[in-house]
Symmetry: C2
Subunit: 478 residues, 2 copies
C-alpha cells in the first residue's frame, strides 16, 4: 500500500498552492502534456476522450438549432486580415506569420488563423446574393493560434482547439436573437453537461471582442475564487459586412448589408471542469463527459470467481454506462487512487465476500460516500445514480458560486473581498471607462460582465460615487 500514499502525496493541496494543484491534476490525471514547442500542449488520450464527449454533445445542440459545420482554411493572407480595422488591431500583435512556403519566400505574409471572421466574411461576400441565401448558420471545429507569452495547459496555450460559429442574417433583430440564442445554448450546455453554473451577461465596451458591436459572455467561478470566461457570443451588426461588402438584395430588390454574429468555446472548458469540480484527490468528472463512468475494481483477484464476476458485471453494465474493469496486477489501493485522480464518478469493488453475499461496494467520487448495494438491478441503480451525481455536482458548484459572490458598495469592501474571500464582486458602476480602468488598476480585478439579472445594490458607482447605471460582476480572472 506504500504506492497509494505516494500517488496521493504527489498532488499539491489546492489550499496550499492552487496553480500547482492544477498542474498536478493535468499531469497525474493524464489530460495533457507539454510539447517540445513552448506554449503548445499535447492532449493525451484521457483528456481527448473528455473533449470528444463534450464536443459531440455541444455539436448536437448546434445542429438542433439549425447550424451546419464547414471547414475554412487555417491561413489568412495579411491583406484579408486587415480589412476590418478594429479586428486587425486586436489580433495582429499575437499571430504567427508564415513567410516561406517550400523553398520560396512568399510574396505576402499569411497568418495562421487566430479566429476566422475574415475568412467567413470573404466567403459570405461570394456566396450571399439574395435574401433567399439567408440566414447562413455555419460553425467549424478547428484549432487556432495566438502567440501568447505565458501559457498554461487548457487555459492559455499558443494553439488551442475550439469551435467558432459564424452566422449572417437579413436584419439587426435576427442577428441579435442569434447572439443571445447561442449564449443560451452555451449556458444550458454548461449546466446540463458540464454541471457548471455560469453568470450570463454583456461585456463592457472595454472588454468587447475586436470588431464586435456587442459581446456577451458566460463567466464561471473556479475553486480559488478566480473567474473564467468560458464562452462568448458576439453581435457584429453590419460592421464586417460593410468592410467586406457582404450585401444581398431584399424582397423589394434593394441592396442591404447582412448582420453577423460569431460565438465560440474552446478547450478552456477543460480547465473549467478541472477547477470547478476537482478536489485534493484529483478530477471529479460529471458523468455526462466521463470517458469511464463506472470502474470495477476486483478485490483479491487471485481468488476463484472474482475476475469472472468483474467481467460479468462489465458485460451487464455495458449497455447502460461507460464501464471498465481494471484487471491489471496493480493493488486495489493503487487503483482506487488512480480512478479518483481521473474523476471516475462511480467505483464498484467486488471481492469474494461480496460475491458470496450477492453485493458490491459502491463508492461515489462526488461525495466519497461508500455503500453496499445488491448486485441485482445494477442496470437500474447505476444510471439513476449517475444522474444523481450529475445533479449533485451542479448543485455543489452553484452553492459555491453563490457563497462566493459578494456585493461591495465602496472600494474598501471591494478590495477586502478580493484579498480575503476571493470570488465574484457585485458592484454598481456609472458606465464610464475611467472608473473601470481605475478599479482594475487598484485591485487587479477586471469587469466580467453586466449580468442580465441586474440588482440594485446601491445607487452610486462603487468607484466615483456618481449615479450608477449598471451592476457589474468583477473578479480576478484567468
Amino acid at each position: 500500500m506504500a504506492n497509494d500514499k505516494k500517488l496521493v502525496a504527489e498532488i499539491t493541496d489546492m489550499e496550499k498552492d492552487f496553480p500547482q494543484w492544477y498542474t498536478d491534476v493535468v499531469k497525474k490525471a493524464e489530460l495533457a502534456d507539454y510539447s517540445s514547442l513552448k506554449g503548445c500542449m499535447i492532449i493525451k488520450p484521457y483528456g481527448y476522450a473528455i473533449w470528444e464527449l463534450l464536443q459531440r454533445q455541444l455539436d448536437d445542440r448546434f445542429k438542433e438549432t439549425g447550424h451546419e459545420n464547414v471547414y475554412m482554411p487555417m491561413f489568412i493572407p495579411e491583406s484579408l486580415l486587415q480589412k476590418e480595422k478594429d479586428h486587425v488591431e486586436g489580433f495582429a500583435p499575437e499571430v504567427a506569420w508564415v513567410t516561406q512556403g517550400g523553398e520560396n519566400e512568399l510574396p505576402e505574409r499569411i497568418c495562421v488563423r487566430p479566429t476566422s471572421e475574415t475568412l467567413f466574411c470573404d466567403h459570405y461576400s461570394h456566396v450571399i446574393q439574395s435574401y433567399r441565401d439567408l440566414p447562413k448558420l455555419y460553425n467549424q471545429w478547428c484549432s487556432v493560434v495566438r502567440w501568447e507569452k505565458t501559457t498554461r495547459p487548457f487555459l492559455r496555450t499558443t494553439e488551442f482547439l475550439w469551435q467558432e460559429g459564424h452566422t449572417a442574417h437579413a436584419t439587426a433583430e435576427e442577428s441579435q436573437t442569434e447572439t443571445i440564442k447561442m449564449l443560451n445554448v452555451y449556458s444550458d450546455f454548461c449546466k446540463d453537461v458540464l454541471a457548471i453554473p455560469v453568470i450570463k451577461g454583456e461585456k463592457t465596451e472595454k472588454e468587447r471582442f475586436a470588431g464586435a458591436k456587442n459581446t456577451y459572455t458566460i463567466e464561471s467561478l473556479m475553486h480559488d475564487g478566480k473567474a473564467l470566461q468560458s464562452g462568448t457570443s458576439h453581435n457584429f451588426g453590419d460592421g464586417f459586412a460593410r468592410a467586406f461588402g457582404i450585401q444581398y438584395t431584399d424582397k423589394n430588390n434593394e441592396l442591404q448589408y447582412v448582420h453577423q454574429t460569431s460565438w465560440g468555446v474552446s478547450t478552456r472548458l477543460m480547465g473549467a471542469i478541472i477547477m470547478v469540480h476537482g478536489d485534493n484527490s484529483g478530477l471529479k468528472l460529471p458523468p455526462a463527459i466521463a470517458p469511464i463512468q463506472v470502474v470495477i475494481v476486483p478485490i483479491a483477484m487471485h481468488k476463484e470467481g472474482v475476475i469472472e464476476k468483474a467481467e460479468e458485471l462489465t458485460a451487464r453494465l455495458k449497455s447502460v454506462a461507460r464501464v471498465k474493469a481494471d484487471l491489471t496486477d496493480k493493488t486495489p489501493g493503487w487503483k482506487f487512487s488512480e480512478y479518483e485522480m481521473k474523476g471516475v464518478p462511480i467505483r464498484l469493488e467486488v471481492g469474494p465476500k461480496d460475491i458470496e453475499q450477492n453485493q458490491v461496494v459502491l463508492v461515489r467520487r462526488d461525495t466519497g460516500e461508500k455503500q453496499v448495494v445488491s448486485m441485482d438491478g445494477l442496470e437500474e441503480t447505476i444510471p439513476a445514480l449517475l444522474q444523481e451525481i450529475q445533479t449533485n455536482l451542479y448543485e455543489k458548484a452553484l452553492k459555491n458560486l453563490q457563497e462566493n459572490t459578494y456585493p461591495a458598495t465602496n472600494m474598501e469592501e471591494f478590495e477586502d473581498i478580493l484579498d480575503n474571500t476571493p470570488g465574484f464582486v457585485k458592484a454598481m458602476w456609472c458606465g464610464n471607462r475611467a472608473c473601470e480602468d481605475e478599479i482594475k488598476e487598484l485591485t487587479g480585478a477586471t469587469s466580467r460582465c453586466i449580468p442580465f439579472e441586474q440588482e440594485e445594490i446601491s445607487d452610486t458607482c462603487v468607484c466615483c460615487g456618481e449615479k450608477a447605471k449598471y451592476m457589474l460582476y468583477w473578479g480576478r480572472a484567468y
Copy 2:
C-alpha cells in the same frame, strides 16, 4: 422547366472533359469552394456532412481495434523535423515555415506539420519507459499542410484534413501485424462504407514513405481510368526509434528500441467517392455516407394535403433513414436535378394522385429506375433498398475495376493500354529500380503496388526481359 435543363447543361460530360466534369461536380453539388488563398479550399456544409459521416464510421473502427485519439501541436520546430534524415529530405521542400510570432522574429523556424511522425516520436521518447507502456496505439484527426504547386479540390490541396495513426510496439512482428491490420481496416471501410473496391499491396522502394521500412497502400480506380492512392500504412521498423531514442526496458530488464507504424487517409477519399461513383448527372453517394438518404419531393404542392403528406412521410421515415422533404417553391423538375446532382440515393415523389392511391413514386439514383411503391411499409422498404443500393454501387465499381485492369507482357501492349483503354496495367517486374524508372519515363505511369494477390502473367520483366520477381500494378495516377 427551363431551369432544369440549364442546371443539367452546366455540367460537362465526363467523356468530353473529365477534369472539368470533376470540378463541376465539386461546385454544383456544393462540396467545396476555392478560398482567397491559392491551393486552400473551403469545405462547404454538404461536403463536410459527408466527411463527418465518413470520419465517425472510420473512427469507430479505430476504437474497436483499440486505438485512442490524441491531439498533437500543429507546429514542428525545424530541429525536430531534422532528426530523421530520410524524413526531413522527403518533407522539407514542401512545408510552410513560420518565422514570426507576434511582433518578433522567432529564434528558430517552425513548420506547420506536413505529417506528425516527429511529434509523436518526441512524445513517445518521453512517455515510453517499460514494456508495460506498450503498445501505444494513438491516432489524431487534424489538418496538415504541404506547399503544393498545382492543386485540385480534395485531391491535392495545400491544406487538407486527415487522420494519422502512430503506434509503438515492443517487437518487429507486432509492428508488422499492426501495419497490415490497419491496411485491412482501410480496405474494409472502403468496401463497406464507401462502396469502393481497392487493390491492396506494398509500394516499391521508390514509392515508399520518407523514413519507412515498408509502405503498404490501397489503390482505387477512377472513372477516367486513373489510379488514386487512397490510403497508406507504413512500418517504420526501429528507424525512428533510433533517431529519437525511444527505448523501453523489456521483461529481462534490457533496453530495446520500439518498432513503429503510421497510417493515414485524408479528404482525398472525397475525391474517390466523386470519381468512382459519379455520372453525368452528378454525385452518387453510397447510402452509408449520404447526409440525405431519402429526399421527398412534393408534386403540385398547392393541392390540398400534399405538403401534409410529405411532412407525414418525413416524420415516419425519420427513425429509419436520413430523410428530408424539400418544401421550397422551386419546381419539382429543378428539385429532381438538384438532388441527383447531390447524389441522394432515393427520391420519393408524392402528388395528389399518389395520395389517392396510397402510393409514392420512388426513383433510385444508382440505376435511375422508377417504381411505384405502396405507402404502407415504407419503414421496411426504404432501409432494405438503401442496403441494396449500397451493395449495387460496390458491385458496379468492382466490375469497372475488373474490366479496366489489363495484363501486359511487353511495352507495346503496356503503352497501348494506357493510351487506348486506360486503367490498371498488370505487368511482371524484375525488381530493379532502373526498369521502374524507365517505364515511368516511357509511359507516364507509376508503379501503384506489388499486390498481395500475385499472378504469374509471364516469367520475364515487361521492361528488360530479365527474370521477373513480382507482378506490379501500374497506372497513371492522381
